[in-house]
């Protein structure tokens, strides 16, 4: 069975939800701890949502220096699938595994709502089970989800097909309506909305989140 790790940082909040989502899609969910430099031989890693270190200073900025992050950076560079959700996305940017940065939402408020997205590329470890152009609805909740990057970076992301998700109704001012991006290799994906909240009928309006986890399982089984 594929083993997928979910890292808990001080202030992580959606770690248990991510673990549950992994379980529900039929993989083994492995809790990982920020203070250990071991990722216990997992096949893929999720950096969950939350307010690591209170989101003080900048979201993800302090967690980026956790011992586990050095191991994850190495693993990501070696091709391991890594998904950063919300705070995890911010963390991936702080760690320079993904380009750009998140700043305060244009409306200055924390926003929690069901957000419609378009899947722009299925050429990543976390989106290969989607259809290109598919429109999905995923829970969004953040105060600093406004994606920004230099014009050159944005151009590069667009040219290389590294924009993975776009908002259909941009909630926070993100450049080019970007909701999620990937690295050049397609193994590291970050997005602000929370797919782990869209895996059960009982607690969410859609099940669109499941496809993220099914994607990585599909990728992993194809690789073996």
């Amino acid at each position: 069975m594929a083993r997928i790790g979910v890292v808990t940082f001080p202030g992580s909040l959606d770690d248990h939800d991510a673990l549950r989502a992994v379980r529900l899609t039929g993989a083994e969910a492995v809790p990982l701890w920020h203070g250990s430099d071991s990722v216990q031989g997992v096949d893929a890693i999720i950096l969950p949502g939350g307010f690591s270190y209170g989101d003080y200073l900048r979201c993800g900025a302090i967690a980026r220096f956790s011992p586990v992050m050095d191991t994850i950076i190495d693993a990501a560079n070696a091709g391991m699938p890594v998904l950063g959700i919300c705070n995890g996305f911010q963390l991936l940017c702080e760690a320079h595994l993904l380009e750009g940065a998140m700043i305060r939402n244009v409306g200055q408020h924390f926003i929690c709502r069901d957000e419609r997205l378009r899947v722009e590329t299925i050429d990543t470890t976390w989106t290969c089970a989607f259809e290109k152009g598919q429109e999905i609805t995923i829970a969004l909740k953040n105060g600093e989800g406004n994606y920004q990057a230099s014009p050159e970076t944005l151009r590069k992301l667009e040219d290389n097909d590294q924009v993975v998700f776009r908002y259909l109704d941009n909630p926070n001012g993100s450049a080019n309506d970007i909701a999620g991006i990937t690295n050049e290799r397609g193994n590291v994906v970050g997005l602000m909305p929370h797919p782990e909240h869209n895996v059960e009928e009982l607690t969410s309006p859609t099940l669109d989140g499941r496809l993220f986890f099914e994607s990585v399982l599909q990728f992993l089984s194809a690789r073996v």
Partner: protein
């Protein structure tokens, strides 16, 4: 106690929604002709003297942690 200040500002080419919101609010309050950019100010108390080495070290800390140089620039000033 000796003090060093690090100022961190959004780079000019990066959107500054906070600054924009403040600019708009000031205008509504009747303060005209003011354009605001909002950044951060860190006041750092140093155990010991503020030597050039300490300043360099704090510059290092700013580069590494206090600022995200993808979107922010910073300066370090002995206070």
């Amino acid at each position: 106690m000796p003090r060093v200040v690090v100022n961190v500002m959004p780079k000019p080419e990066i959107l500054d929604p906070q600054g924009k919101a403040v600019t708009g609010a000031l205008k509504r309050l009747g303060f005209d002709g003011l354009t605001v950019r909002q950044g951060k100010r860190f006041e750092i108390e140093v155990d010991g003297e503020v030597t050039p080495e300490v300043l360099a070290e704090i510059g290092d800390a700013a580069e590494k942690l206090l600022a995200n140089t993808v979107i922010e620039s910073f300066d370090v000033v002995a206070d």
